[in-house]
């Protein structure tokens, strides 16, 4: 069942990002959003999250049922990790503090640590933890992996698997395609401002006998030459 089916035209004052691009998202799938730097991956997530003033037609999903993970951490400077989690628990009805604390322990983060003193990797982990601790229907995750070590990568994937059910949809924008390839069922490839291609990951592997990452490299090389 489709939760999003729309045609987007969107521009910043000096840059056209999308022009009549069709996008279709099905419920209960995990999508990888890939494309070159500056092609509009983060913008697309912000549009879907309704942060930019653009009215996407959402079906089956309420605006408050979207969980968006921005690429940088949002917090007030006085906050410790536990303060931030309590803030979300207090102000977001679908936030699960128990879930967050359980994984906080697995990531070996000290809840009493000041957020501004966290390393880049730890900030990413916290951001990711907050995003997945919400019981949402649509998860929009922007660049989850930079700065994060291999063991934590594993926990990340487990978290998604634990959260996943057929009513939940994940869209993950990333450059580390290999990390998510096995998890994702579809791949949204932003070729240029006019085209977002939606491909099944199984189909890519079976028909062209390439991994998603290799396929992406081939396609982008072709687009560049063209």
């Amino acid at each position: 069942m489709e939760i999003i089916k729309d045609t987007i035209t969107f521009m910043y004052p000096n840059k056209l990002v999308f022009e009549n691009v069709e996008i279709k998202i099905n419920q209960g799938e995990i999508y990888l959003l890939i494309g070159r730097n500056g092609c509009g991956k983060s913008t697309l997530l912000r549009l879907l999250a309704k942060i930019e003033p653009y009215q996407f037609k959402l079906h089956l999903v309420n605006e408050k049922e979207i969980s968006y993970m921005p690429s940088d951490l949002v917090y007030y400077s006085y906050m410790k990790i536990i303060d931030l989690l309590k803030f979300y628990d207090d102000t977001h009805h679908n936030f699960s503090l128990d879930f967050a604390l359980k994984y906080l322990d697995e990531f070996k983060l000290n809840p009493k640590q000041k957020i501004k003193k966290l390393s880049m990797g730890e900030q990413k982990i916290l951001n990711y933890l907050i995003c997945l601790s919400k019981n949402a229907k649509l998860y929009l995750i922007d660049e989850p992996f930079p700065y994060v070590d291999l063991l934590n990568d594993e926990i990340f994937r487990n978290m998604i698997i634990n959260r996943y059910d057929e009513t939940k949809t994940f869209i993950i924008a990333t450059h580390q395609i290999n990390e998510f390839e096995k998890l994702a069922s579809y791949c949204l490839l932003i070729k240029d401002y006019k085209t977002i291609e939606c491909l099944s990951t199984d189909e890519i592997r079976s028909t062209v006998s390439l991994s998603v990452e290799d396929y992406f490299k081939e396609v982008m090389r072709y687009v560049k030459d063209d």
Binding site: Y12, Y76, Y78, F87, T91, K134
Partner: protein, 256 residues
């Protein structure tokens, strides 16, 4: 709304404590008791810090809108009105309480001097400082309240103008049209607040709102026009400044 106030107060509590500590140090300093100018200066400093605090808070909140900090409340179970009112009350609580504490400490110091040394001398020479309340009648103790109301009026007007401006921009209005519309709306707010003060004056004369500020006491049409221009000029300048920053520093979508 209470939840927003709780977290927003915690956000600024450090700054607040620093300002209060400054206030106490200021109280404990042993100034030359014969230099009355210093006491007049102190009263001005209190006014400036209080107004500065209020403006600082509103600028911080406006800048939050252009950073990712706005995302903190984006998908929260609070409505936008609850968030807006929570932040507005946080500002009023912070600068209002600060003004009252500062005024109390200032007057305590004057009172001690008044009792021990300078009776009539101090009293007569501090006449024009709004914050020196020693030995006067009940009505004059309301000066800080009036000052607080004046600041609240400016803050509420600015906050509303900014809120309206953002809404209008979202609805695709040109920014210059937005400024004009905001200006007109703030003029209406000004008119209504004057009317409210007039009503208060009539219904609660013992509170003596006649002292509130000249700008809120003007009831003639001519006075209105002059005062609207003067009161709103600061707001319009600030707003224009913010719009300028917005267009220089932040990309925004121009399509729908």
């Amino acid at each position: 709304m209470l939840k927003t106030i709780k977290y927003e107060l915690r956000r600024f509590v450090n700054l607040y404590i620093i300002l209060l500590a400054g206030c106490l140090i200021f109280f404990l300093l042993d100034f030359n008791k014969h230099l009355l100018m210093l006491y007049q200066l102190h009263a001005s400093i209190i006014e400036i810090i209080t107004t500065g605090l209020a403006l600082y808070l509103i600028i911080i909140y406006i800048l939050d809108d252009y950073k990712n900090k706005k995302l903190l409340y984006q998908k929260a179970s609070l409505t936008k009105t609850q968030e807006f009112l929570g932040k507005l009350f946080t500002m009023i609580i912070l600068f209002g309480s600060y003004l009252f504490i500062m005024t109390f400490v200032y007057n305590l110091k004057l009172y001690i001097l008044y009792k021990h040394h300078y009776l009539e001398y101090l009293r007569l020479n501090l006449d024009h400082t709004y914050l020196a309340l020693i030995g006067r009648d009940f009505k004059e103790w309301l000066y800080p309240l009036h000052l607080c109301l004046k600041n609240t009026y400016i803050i509420v007007t600015l906050a509303l103008m900014y809120g309206i401006f953002t809404k209008l921009r979202e609805k695709r209005y040109d920014s210059y049209n937005c400024i004009v519309i905001c200006f007109l709306i703030s003029a209406i707010i000004y008119y209504l607040s004057n009317y409210l003060v007039k009503l208060l004056d009539e219904t609660l004369p013992f509170l003596d709102f006649s002292y509130i500020t000249p700008r809120l006491r003007a009831f003639g049409l001519e006075d209105y026009l002059v005062n609207i221009l003067s009161v709103n000029s600061l707001a319009v300048v600030l707003l224009s400044f913010i719009i300028m920053i917005k267009f220089i520093t932040k990309k925004r979508s121009d399509n729908q």
